[in-house]
């Protein structure tokens, strides 16, 4: 199967800390942190649109691996917060990074979109060449939309993550993935065309707590791997309590679950790739080490992807 050649990210410079947010919401900063595990989040300026952030994450992804934009065969952009109904941001992003004409696909899927896009890219890469996957979100807009819901507003931040998938040659080989969707729960986490994010937190946590460990177990068991053998788990950065719970259910220490929730909040579909982009810079992986990616989000959509550090050093 295909491999991950590089990761990248873009975070807006503007930082919104709990003190400032608490004043805006009329709440206690300590309450925000205890409820969410979030200390601060990044907020996009007016000119930092989904497309702009996505393009910057794409450039950050391509730069270190030496791949030029014209060497990309396809662009996939996942976002649940693009500015327009159509066109989505994908074509605009491709043009912005200098590859107009390359097929660019929008995946309007919040939270789980990054992993679904990577899974699709891993299948497409052998036929279309390198696929640039980007997830970008401006969650601050719907998070602070009226009527303001403080329980929701404290959770989200803005940013973009990216990764480049190739047929071969990457440091992380994609081994397998499992994807699931169940529209029964579509109304429990949603963003309408106007208004704030609508979330039935109890249903979301209840389902995610059950489904994420299950789907991780599903992809691991069919590859004869146990959770304790997985070097790292890169999860959608939704909630620190949820990540800790998944770790506990799997019988694995939370230290194997890189987390940036405290600094960025929940950046929806962008979060997993932002986390992976930071993690890969210091990850101490040995050849063959398994790494598992996992997501859960609105839809509900959920899935897990198993990768491993390439056995031989490749270009």
């Amino acid at each position: 199967m295909a491999s991950v050649i590089s990761f990248g990210r873009y975070l807006p410079e503007r930082v919104l800390g709990n003190e400032e947010l608490a004043r805006r919401l009329g709440r206690d900063p300590a309450w925000i942190e205890s409820m969410s595990g979030i200390a601060e989040r990044r907020i996009a300026e007016a000119d930092e649109t989904v497309s702009v952030m996505a393009a910057r994450a794409a450039e950050d992804c391509l730069r270190p691996c030496g791949v030029q934009a014209p060497d990309v065969g396809m662009v996939i952009v996942a976002s649940g917060t693009s500015e327009r109904r159509f066109p989505g941001p994908a074509a605009e992003v491709a043009a912005a990074i200098g590859i107009p004409g390359v097929p660019a696909i929008d995946l309007p899927m919040a939270s789980a979109g990054s992993l679904f896009a990577v899974a699709m890219a891993s299948r497409l890469a052998p036929s279309v060449g390198r696929v640039l996957v980007i997830s970008a979100e401006r969650m601050s807009a719907p998070a602070f939309a009226e009527p303001l819901n403080p329980d929701v507003a404290i959770l989200f931040g803005d940013g973009a993550g990216a990764c480049l998938i190739g047929e071969s040659g990457g440091a992380l080989e994609i081994v397998d993935y499992v994807l699931h969707s169940d529209g029964t729960w579509a109304k429990d986490l949603r963003l309408e065309f106007t208004g704030p994010v609508q979330m039935n937190g109890r249903a979301v946590i209840m389902q995610a707590s059950r489904k994420v460990p299950a789907v991780i177990g599903e992809v691991l068991s069919r590859n004869d791997i146990i959770a304790q053998d997985v070097r790292y788990f890169l999860m959608h950065q939704a909630n620190q309590n949820l990540i800790d719970r998944v770790a506990k259910v799997l019988g694995v220490g939370s230290d194997r679950f890189p987390s940036n929730i405290r600094r960025y909040g929940n950046t929806s579909s962008a979060s997993m790739l932002i986390a992976a982009s930071e993690w890969i810079e210091t990850a101490d992986l040995r050849p063959g080490d398994p790494v598992c990616f996992a997501v859960f989000g609105a839809g509900f959509h959920w899935g897990a992807l198993l990768a491993r550090k390439a056995l031989a050093r490749q270009t």
Partner: protein, 83 residues
């Protein structure tokens, strides 16, 4: 202990509250359960009654009160009506 007493005992452990809610009282509104405590509650119920509640049935409303939990557990626990 009968079924209700067993459920109440689990709730006491999860919530760390010494008071007992009325059977119809909302466990969420009364502060006995939040999102994560609800998940713990379900896991403990499954262990205590040796049942597996399908994901499709994991709707918070089914765990809103002691009475609703009794109904939910009863649906899956063998011989629950005799308890």
């Amino acid at each position: 202990m009968n079924k209700r007493e067993r459920i109440t005992a689990i709730l006491g452990r999860i919530s760390n509250k010494r008071t007992e809610p009325d059977p119809e009282e909302s466990l969420f509104d009364a502060g006995y359960l939040d999102s994560f405590a609800l998940t713990d509650m379900v896991a403990e119920l499954e262990k205590e009654f040796q049942i597996r509640i399908p994901d499709s049935e994991l709707n918070p409303r089914r765990f809103e009160s002691i009475a609703r939990i009794e109904e939910t557990v009863g649906k899956y626990a063998a011989g629950a009506h005799a308890a």
